[in-house]
Symmetry: D3
Subunit: 333 residues, 6 copies
């Protein structure tokens, strides 16, 4: 998607320039993985015109291969972003009806080529919400991934502007059969899968770890996930958030493990969840201890929230320095 954001803390009606970048759930994960040092491919459909080309170039610039990007369709999805501060929340206005990717058909993709030698396939709950064509294409991709023995992760990522909880659940539940690693935030499990988060006030962000452990347990059993990871954001204000995550699996994160917590002065919180997913995927591929994988996910996404734009432009060295205790922010000369 094309992201158009107001500079500084300007409101939409004040701006004479929009900062231009590109992002969106899966693209953000791919870019983040590429920054961490893995080979990353982005599977999507993008219009042929120059604004579409700019999106492709942006992915290439940050190391994502454009090999499997289909070019065509009418338009690039757009979202407008206004960054909040203190008591004033950030705002997102979506303008993505009719985007090229919503019309991407399965027959436009060579799944054999896509999954040959692939290790991991990641998708988010936004894709099936884009419409029936996207939904079918996704289902075909998931089947192909399964056949190739590729590990699949899904970030539930419920978006209320795209569909209702009822629609989401009807679509998402059957797709969970293809998922190995389920990633969610505080609200997603309830909205996308109907697993309720009792007694949680997501507005104030007072968090009950026990509660989320129960939800993770329920999800894991119901859908036979290998792992369930939930990000935990404490919204102190639009300028400052607490940030951590928990994970439940059958390995080091059993019982459920809660990561380190970060007190973040926010620069740009968009893409926080995606960078968490990327860090976690990296960790699950490269680390032996899944608790450390979770810590990588949380540290990576804490750093992301200090970087402008959707992408997490952090090397694995930088992430590891934070995991290993370097949160003091001392200047590096």
């Amino acid at each position: 998607m094309l992201r158009l954001s107001t500079p500084g803390f300007e409101r939409f009606v004040q701006s004479k320039q929009f900062d231009v970048t590109f992002g969106g759930g899966e693209a953000n994960v791919a870019a983040s993985l590429a920054q961490l040092g893995l080979d990353a491919y982005f599977l999507s459909k993008i219009p042929k015109h120059e604004v579409g080309q700019a999106a492709v170039n942006h992915l290439r610039r940050f190391g994502v291969s454009d090999r499997f990007i289909v070019r065509g369709g009418e338009r690039l999805g757009i979202y407008f972003l206004e960054t909040g501060a203190s008591q004033r929340p950030s705002k997102v206005i979506y303008d993505r009806a009719g985007s090229s990717v919503s019309g991407l058909r399965a027959d436009e993709i060579d799944f054999d080529a896509v999954f040959e030698g692939a290790t991991w396939f990641h998708w988010t709950g936004i894709t099936p919400a884009l419409g029936p064509t996207a939904r079918e294409t996704l289902r075909a991709a998931l089947k192909a991934a399964r056949e190739q023995g590729v590990t699949v992760s899904c970030d539930l990522n419920f978006r209320k502007k795209l569909w209702s909880p009822e629609e989401a659940q009807a679509t998402m539940r059957p797709l969970m059969e293809f998922v190995d690693v389920c990633i969610a935030n505080e609200e997603d499990t309830q909205l996308s899968l109907g697993v309720e988060a009792h007694d949680v006030d997501v507005e104030t962000g007072s968090l009950s770890l026990e509660h989320y452990a129960e939800i993770a347990q329920a999800l894991k059993e119901q859908y036979e996930f290998k792992a369930v990871a939930i990000t935990l954001r404490e919204s102190i204000s639009a300028s400052r958030n607490g940030w951590s995550a928990m994970m439940l699996d059958d390995r080091e994160c059993s019982p459920a493990y809660r990561s380190s917590q970060y007190d973040i002065q926010l620069v740009d919180r968009v893409g926080g969840g995606d960078s968490f997913a990327a860090g976690l995927i990296y960790g699950l591929i490269r680390e032996t201890d899944t608790r450390r994988a979770l810590e990588i996910g949380v540290a990576a996404s804490a750093l992301k929230q200090t970087i402008p734009g959707d992408f997490n432009i952090c090397s694995i060295t930088e992430v590891m320095a934070l995991v290993d205790g370097g949160g003091s922010g001392r200047i590096q000369r």
Copy 2:
């Protein structure tokens, strides 16, 4: 429409910021008329969200009343603009499918209120190209205008991305019955109404006045226009254009009259035609000699092309200074 343009002479794939302004045919005419000192109203439909509000605010800022703007619908049309230079042409990418105005229904407008006391109604060929709903609403507006005795002008404004010449002609021809003043550029008469411009090379812009006089004559007779005005752009390069116009009517512009010619160092040529229409309308309302009305249109639009953005931010004093010979650009202290 939201206009997003690359700064300076950057190409789309280079930009990290887009300049933000708002424009579009009829809005540009309304804003230009307000700058010239007339009361101007803009009739359209704009979404309720903050980007839509920014469009409304932009109109208010430049003196256009928002009294008849309907708020609602899904999205604001967008166009992307890259400014060319020398041998490199400017480029426009439209992204306006599904815009709110394309769904504006006649029953959402109180035509009695709109036309009560109104002097003039201006529309462009873009509106009926937006789809059947816009077309019907336009037809209703034209009928109401006629009933109230309001003078109507139309800028043919053919857009090949919106429809084919055949579609355009099928729609536009019947609408001409409501038009008093027909405004066109070199190509429009052929594409929108099928009146051919023989022997004209619009690419190089070598212009034959006699030829356009014939076309104007044909148009005037066929549709019983009170006046036909045609802008004449000589495209020397993307940095420099010749600019003039001709008009045929039953008054001072009979026989056809060609205006002064301006050699323009282009700053922003978008909106040139709209500012011509506005200047001409102003002149036809306020001046007694229609040749002077034409000169006002041409001078106003020459100035527009030195101003960034779609709107012609020029006072009538400034336009008159140019009409009366002040093209030397001497600094005014």
Copy 3:
């Protein structure tokens, strides 16, 4: 006034560009009221040149009617602003001697037209400080407002660069007879009206509610105000302030009521008091419980301080969301 501020946290001597916007006490209140959804008019005098026109356009853009703005005089008042951070305070340099509004005469205004159908008239202590002409014009306006039964509010707004406490008190005290709602900050009551605030250290901002309740009581009795509202700023640093207000009236704010307190990460604190006045006025017009009116004032002005520029560009929906508990700053998609 034309406001010229250094970008980011630059000092005056560093800047190569100034951010340009327009503001000033009463203009800020008018714009804020228009954003909240009320009809707002600004009564002033602004020079005819283009910089003056830009000021008028800015007001129109944000919904303020320019119907009663007189055009003429020599210059637009200017203020230069440097935004501080942490231990470094923000700085304002005024350059408004000889501004057009200081020469606005009563005979230039049609008070009948101004107050016909009006509900509320707001002024600040800056206006009479601009000189004898402004003072007399204000007095004439207040008389006319009273005759029309318009409610009047005054923000005392003492400015030491414009006059001494002695001059202020000699002028302001007699004008209080026309005031229904008196608005002040911690220092204003002492400086503008001579009602002392014992034992308060405004530098550090340690606040004694009892103390301000006493002052409000004294003011209310002496001048027979319907309500006295005092904003309470705790200056922790140039980056962070505590913010609340108290009000005393004969309704729900009797005894004195202190609002919710906000811990604000400041983006732009200029105009905080004006947005409070506007929020309070809105609340007193639209709400039945005056405590809620005060909460609207405080919430509106908390939001203002997160927005660049003098104007509080917030909808009533946004303010109400904060009043009703939405201070967590969660992103709104």
Copy 4:
């Protein structure tokens, strides 16, 4: 003066930022001389506040000594600049009533220190136009300069916003007794000294060299100038000007000599006359052939008009390269 200009080709009512620099006749000459390699001092009065300090710093940055700048008074003069293009002229709005320099008294200056060892004193017709105090201070300076045997040049620089031709002539004529080198543009001689330029159309800039030679002759005789230099600007448009000068003296420029002519694509024409004066002064001090001095003045000022801001930031090496034929603009690596 503080110069606030709109970026690019924006009109005043469009700008959200103003470019900030500092300039003004005598300051521009001083800065230009410093860039050319001479010791230069600026004699003025500037307020103590930080915006005043920024002006002082700007002069220091470009090599002008602040040793004789008096600090005090109320305000720094301001001018607003909008850069035109093609048929649209540049515009200047002055806001300098009550500036500190207009109140500079002779007793605030130690003329002995100022002129000790000085070679040249330059003033412009703007200074005496600022009011009686500035006029008297100037007269005192001129007397002191004469007593010290310092050469004096004057750029007549008539400004119609400051005074009428009648006022100007009454003041300027007596001051000519102190002037050795008189510098003027096409209009100044008539407006400031009443020496008429018959048959010249300054708007279109068609120039008659003979005519200007006559004027120079008349001036030289009447006021016993050692040299009279007149700049000749042909205003083709706001984007392109012809530029040259002529001079009459008793040396190599007798009979009157016309310089090379430059066809300039304008970047910023403000300060063109000042940079001419500086180049000429430099040439008269350093060169033996006064025709070469004139060529230096014209070349320096041609270069100035390609540089943003009031100051001519050109080394003498660069000026000489142009004088000696390097006008092809080939890149220098």
Copy 5:
């Protein structure tokens, strides 16, 4: 190289920001070829730090493969650029002593991998000027290319800051044995190879086609080139240049053929020669008529000079439109 350029027409001493991009002879050719649609690889050495990474990302963004870029060494070469206007020339300050690429050794490159399946190898005269290590590495590359039967082109590109004509000739002459296509500008043949260009005034750019044809003939015979192409720049001013080229080969350009001539309003002339080389290479690979190959080179480089930055961001469609007569710069909607 890191390119740091002043914004707009600012001089070095005025700028508070530098525009950042990346470029340099061979990189520019690679990027241009990638934009035209060919697979392009860049062979160089770039430091590991983040500024080096930004250079790599820039290449990837514009489609150049980073597969053969060696990472290491101390620093990235830098050049500072100031864009001239009218009579004021552009200026380049080089700061590339000790750059990583100057220390790139042949043993750091796997030439088999580099040239496997390669069609063309392009180098410029800047590389051997960087020092003995770069020279040897280049020689090794040329040998490997020859062995693989890869066509080799060389842009002579003499840089007087790097070496003297004598040094250049001593180094370049022996390297010509490996070259198939020799590309030069007006001065290069004399400075790099000692083939004199009699009677040509490169400053004013008056060009004698016959003369260049003779030089090309001499070069072709002496070094047995398959083709010799010479760009012909007429420096009218820093804002406007004439631009064309001539070529001599044994095919359609025998006798020597001169291309179309373009009158260019310059936006950014840096990289003009590189984009010519790329266009010519593209043409020689894809076209059957070598005159058309030359026209592609000239048209591509004419377009480049209207685009900011070193890279020629033009599609082959755009170049062909210009070759086929579309130089009128008409807006493309």
Copy 6:
């Protein structure tokens, strides 16, 4: 040095513009002293080209005399800066090998002129780390200073990119004989002089005053310093630091005195140590109580860290206001 920093919180690989300023240890101290009101000179070598000139102009602008700056050599040292936030540290990339100053020879300086009438000479540990030439020149300067009875201060300023602790100690220890006032941060004493700081975790910044007092005592005795001052930074995050200092001397700071502590919201922490040195030097020259001198140093450097750029642009009035309790950041109108 030329400082190139990414705007806002951008990472190096994101930026399209770099903010340009100039700085470096000794230059920062000189500029800060000039801002505080003392006469300051900078002794260095800077290349003759325009980027070098921009550095000189920057110093002049902020009041530093360029009288003793030698012009010549090949290049200006550069450093790239990326400003961190929250858990993400700021990063500096140095590019200063071969800078002009590293080749400054003693015979290029007239030490008699430099130290005639001088009060104080300040140097940092960076200078001798630049190479043998710089080291010898420094030693010559120190000898000359001693002969003239000038007080000498040294900021140890260890830079691990320039040399190892062993190299540093071998060079720095003998130079301490010329030093009166030794300034250091938490790490410098160990790295530059080998006086170990036991048990201190500089990462988290938990500080033990007793410990630093012991180090200061050891240093003072070993090198017979008149005073030892150590800055104490608590790195809470890249956005927020605690800041204070301690000093030991034979006057009011005996026993060791710890200054007030500031909780700083960082804007730009680079140059913090230099501004401390400048404030301390100012205080030691102008104040009678050395504790107050230390407080001036700490307050000055607290303010610096809220100002963009290397230089501390603060007047002594502003510093004193903070020393005397004005840390609340209340707006100053």
